[in-house]
Amino acid sequence: MTDSCEMMEKTEEISFKRVSKDQKEAEKILRPATTFIQDAWARFKRNKLGLVGLIIIVIMLIFAIIGPMVIPYDYRSQSLDNAFKAPGAEHLMGTDNLGRDMFVRLAYGARISLACGFAASLISLGIGVIYGTISGYAGGKVDEIMMRIVDIISSIPSMLYVILLMVVLGNSLTNVFIVIGVTGWLGMARLVRGQVLSLKEREFVLAAKVSNVSNWHIMLKHLIPNAFGPIIVSMTLSIPSAIFLEASLQFLGLGISAPMPSWGGLAQEGISALRSYPYLLWFPAIFISVTILAFNFLGDALRDALDPKQN
């Protein structure tokens, strides 16, 4: 020790300065404190395609919320004199066979389709996360039984019981949410279970067990937050499939009832007049595809942004 002190003194004379001995000072972190969300946002901003997706979704949301208030037409009032007007100054996207303005109908359709996408994936998120967490955390026989139930449900074609449920419950917007949500949670449950299985062996979960906290605390504070990234990504990617499923239900005549429009319903109406008035199909089709594409971009960008290893 004394040797090294003398050495230091010598070197100090030559060129080095003695560093302050204050231990506390040495432990200081200069980087400003950032939360997980701030970090993720910084990474997200770097992904241009993801930003484009987010902007499109925001525009769609604004269109869905404000559109019907601003556009001076009603989605249900018919005027047969104005039927099949081509897109122009008066009717931005033309009118349909009953003379209803397509632009306002698309705005209402956006409400239905987006609400359906969000609500249905929230329902499947809720069921899937709870089911998957319990299954993965309990493990053993419980896990075995719960996962076999998932396997059995997923072996039945989903369209089959979507149609069955719609027939039983009847056509209404809430029923569409419920049916799509109730059938879409299987993938989420599997994903969450897989995450939980690997997380529960991690040392911080063992530390929590040693700290005498309850199982609920472990699930809510340790398991679910750490599976959050993949969960959000999977939810974002499940929104377009919910929108798609709603559109196909509408296409089959099982969705919400007329005259309330949804994108799928508008596309179905448009198809009958495809030869003479193609814009009646084009506009809803473009809205559906652009929105789904935007959600896919957003999901991919979130996948990268929420992974802390990407820093």
């Binding site: 231990q23 506390k24 432990e27 200081k28 972190i29 980087r31 404190a33 950032t34 939360t35 997980f36 991690r202 040392e203 911080f204 063992l206 530390a207 929590a208 067990k209 040693v210 700290s211 005498n212 906290v213 309850s214 605390h217 504070k221 340790h222 937050p225 750490n226 959050f228 802390p308």
Partner: protein, 334 residues
């Protein structure tokens, strides 16, 4: 000296699934901890050394009842805690905690440092929210971190700092006994000394008892009062650290000790290293008799057939080896 923890013939076997012929699954057992007994006295540090995969970590976790033991007894502060369920364990777990091996995996990346440290105060102490905050700052100060670290997330810290957060967490509920599961092996050497000195200092100040698991022999010698050597799930030798390093008895310990590097080039050159031949056998099908017989230079037929018992050869020096069955014939191997 009061015994705080005593482990009697502890066994932990893991079932391993193997494909059956067509239906059914055959089960093999991996004997991670096999018939281990020792006592830990209040205020001491018991070191536990052995190669990777010899069951040190499993032993530590089984003592904490993170794993359910297959057999044997764990007696903590006079009460048998072997059969207790998670709820019944609560009062005992207040008095024990654990420091983990990997400081990168042992802190939840989604919680701030103060949330992490506070966790064991929720159920183990009767502190109010503001008292808890105060206690967190106190603990941070104790381990040499400062108050503005409390709001940070683990990824902003270096390995040594994280390990100190882990130490602060383990102290939060004022435990008496701490299992240190290789707390320094993931850190680089300069930080290792820091953390070990911190642990020693805390022990003196707070009167803690440690079970210190490691594979760095010189570090274990430095921190421990007594040292146990494990091989393939069994305890082969247990003695005070001075005695063990000066005059190891078991052939395995002798070989281990000869591998400790001496920080003096002249001595190091003269030193005779005992090289143990072969590989560690699989704990799934351990050799019969003494587990070390496949590699022991002095193995006899008896070693291949009968497992040696763990006996006290000289006062407080336990060894499991047939060479010392008859104390009178005892000879020390160099």
């Amino acid at each position: 000296m009061n015994t705080i923890l005593s482990v009697k013939n502890l066994k932990k076997y893991f079932p391993i699934k193997r494909e059956g012929k067509f239906f059914g699954v055959k089960h093999d057992v991996l004997k991670a901890v096999d018939d281990v007994s020792f006592d830990i006295y209040e205020g001491e540090t018991l070191g536990l050394v052995g190669e990777s995969g010899c069951g040190k970590t499993t032993l530590g976790r089984t003592i904490m009842r993170l794993y359910d033991p297959t057999g044997g007894k764990i007696i903590f502060k006079g009460d048998d805690i072997t059969e207790l369920d998670q709820k019944q364990l609560h009062p005992y777990r207040k008095d024990m905690h654990m420091i983990f091996q990997d400081p990168y995996a042992s802190l939840n990346p989604r919680m701030t440092v103060s949330e992490i440290i506070m966790e064991s105060m929720i159920n183990d102490t009767a502190l109010s929210a503001s008292q808890r905050k105060e206690k967190v700052l106190e603990l941070l100060d104790l381990v040499g971190l400062n108050s503005d670290h409390a709001t940070r997330f683990p990824h902003e810290f270096s390995g040594g700092q994280r390990q100190r957060v882990g130490i602060a967490r383990s102290l939060a509920a004022n435990p008496k006994f701490i299992v240190c599961d290789e707390p320094i092996s993931a850190l680089d050497v300069s930080i290792q000394a820091q953390v070990v000195n911190l642990l020693k200092d805390l022990q003196k100040r707070l009167g803690l008892t440690y079970l210190f698991i490691a594979h760095d022999l010189s570090m274990v010698q430095y921190i421990s009062d007594r040292v146990g050597v494990m091989y393939l799930g069994r305890m082969v030798e247990l003695a005070s650290s001075e005695e063990l390093y000066k005059s190891p008895l078991h052939p395995y310990t002798t070989a281990l000790m000869s591998a400790v590097p001496v920080p003096d080039p002249d001595k190091e050159r003269q030193k005779r290293r005992i090289i143990v031949e072969g590989e560690v056998p699989s704990p799934i099908n351990p050799p019969s008799g003494c587990a070390f017989n496949t590699r022991c230079p002095r193995a006899t037929d008896k070693c291949r057939g009968v497992a040696p018992s763990f006996t006290e050869v000289t006062p407080n020096h336990f060894v499991a080896c047939h060479l010392f069955d008859n104390e009178k014939k005892e000879e020390k191997i160099q």
